[in-house]
Symmetry: C2
Subunit: 328 residues, 2 copies
């Protein structure tokens, strides 16, 4: 029985704890209520339909995860730096699996680089793909990409999961595998806004296909492989997120689209982490630095950070002059 | 005022008649009831929320369309050959816009080639993209691709529509623009089956992203441009169709997925044309001829034509061995 630590007591960390429960799983959460609920009642109240077995315990004490053979990061991206610093030095034999999706707003780094810089290890994999936590917890069929520099590590982690309804596919593209999962949240907000404005499914589908073109453009800039972007962690996750109000980012977009004049940053404080809000700022800065045009991301940045009119920004996107489809 | 003929009295032809109603529009339908309803009551009973103005009339007589400056084909693909033959010779000045999506099961030709062969003209454009007819008729924002060999013709047709909520984007890729709209119906059936089997949104999104990879593979074989496949007529239409039970193909898939043992060809007779049923047979034959592997299309072919078990075929698709994402 392997010992697996999971950083993050949200629905994603808990869903992973649930499907890894043939192992010895210790879940770290800051919220005492979650920890008590898991230890005493074997449930996370935020993750419906899932109970844990006795192999799963929770703790508020980071040092309880020190001796784990595998460490899964399922934190909001903006908390990774602080938590990993608090965790302190770990053994280079310990393998880290990053399940967080986003870009750090200050350093403009992906989670892989944040973790690598602090811990000075490259014994790190990326887990990303189209997966709603609640479906993973219900053991519904799910396919994700696991990106690692080391195929042996892929095989090892694959055995660790060994669940025919949660399938891992190998990739060696660390950057590409992080990129789709981060950027999709921006486009989910855009799509959510069109839902809030009742613009219909034709407009939504046009916007998703243009969003994908924008992601590919950004990916080329970052030297990610196109194939990764076409895969589960890219297109798959974009499609999942944009097509369901179960996604936090899409439902956030829907809310602001249907309410127009609201205090966005005040509203965000009432929600669980809406990664797209942070990612779009990082992407905005990167696109300025690198001088690439990303009109959809820019519109969302303007709405969220410059109080631009939602209807004006969305109308500008939908009413580009009739010309070649791929203008940029 | 230009004279526009529309072949096909289904919802798509009628939606186009509605948005083109600043012109003189004559709609050809075989169904007398539809023709009477349009002429006497200015509605097509199958297309909700839309009334026509006096510029729109309908006829059961093909020769009433002989002198149209523009002829739009909105027929089921399998009827194009017969109707165009009955129409007979037209002037080479007349411009044909094809709005049908599919591949002819006998000749394995796209609509463009069927029409070109019979009429010996290349004054033909392709209109394709993510558009539910009902949303077009409601004047909700819609963006589509118009592929033509002649940019002047694009500009002319663009003026003809001149509707800020129905926007055309130019492409010169005739094959690519037909390919996405034809193939997506196969994958919509596959996705519908996963809905019928209650497999969840994770599985659905994984299947759509793999379907897209399969479409790209087929497109490469056909020398279509990848950019077209990433655009409105490719990815955009795939996303729209697969994510809504408003699509005939998706809801057909859902029905057979949730009913298991049914007489598929008998059930099909009760429905409006389900293009995917025909397209998958043509694609199956092309993939055999050209020796390319298209596992999802093949699974749907086996279900529809070889009475294969739905659950077995879908399980095989979802449970490919854990290995590289892009195995083929």
């Amino acid at each position: 029985m392997k010992k697996i630590g999971i950083l993050g007591g949200g629905v994603w960390g808990s869903a992973l704890a649930k499907i890894l429960n043939k192992n010895n799983v210790v879940l770290y959460a800051r919220d005492q209520k979650i920890v008590k609920s898991i230890n005493n009642f074997k449930i996370n109240p935020n993750l419906k339909y899932a109970t844990f077995n006795d192999n799963v315990t929770a703790t508020t004490n980071l040092s309880d995860l020190k001796d784990c053979e595998y460490l899964i990061i399922a934190l909001p991206t903006k908390e990774i730096r602080e938590v990993i610093k608090s965790l302190g030095k770990i053994s280079t034999n310990q393998h880290i699996i990053i399940g967080s999706k986003g870009i750090d707003i200050k350093s403009k780094m992906f989670p892989y680089d944040i973790v690598k810089t602090i811990l000075n290890t490259d014994n790190i994999s990326i887990l990303s793909g189209p997966c709603f936590s609640i479906e993973v917890a219900q053991n519904l069929p799910t396919a994700v990409t696991l990106a690692t520099n080391n195929i042996n590590m892929f095989n090892e982690i694959n055995l660790l999961f060994s669940n025919k309804n949660f399938r891992l596919y190998f990739s060696d593209d660390i950057t590409g595998c992080q990129l789709g999962g981060a950027l999709k949240n921006i486009y989910a907000i855009a799509v959510g806004i069109t839902i809030g404005l009742n613009l219909g499914e034709n407009a939504k589908s046009a916007l998703i296909s243009r969003s994908f073109a924008e992601i590919i453009k950004f990916a080329n800039l970052m030297n990610a492989k196109s194939q990764t972007i076409f895969g589960l962690s890219g297109l798959g996750d974009l499609i999942l997120t944009c097509n369901s109000l179960k996604s936090r980012n899409t439902s956030f977009g829907q809310f602001i689209g249907s309410h127009q004049k609201i205090d966005i940053s005040g509203y965000l404080k009432t929600l669980e982490t809406t990664e797209g809000y942070y990612t779009v700022k990082a992407v905005h800065e990167i696109s300025l630095e690198k001088n690439i045009s990303m009109p959809i991301a820019e519109a969302i940045y303007n709405i969220l950070y410059n109080s631009s009119s939602i209807t004006d920004e969305i109308n500008t996107l939908l009413n580009r002059p009739a010309t070649k489809e791929f203008i940029d």
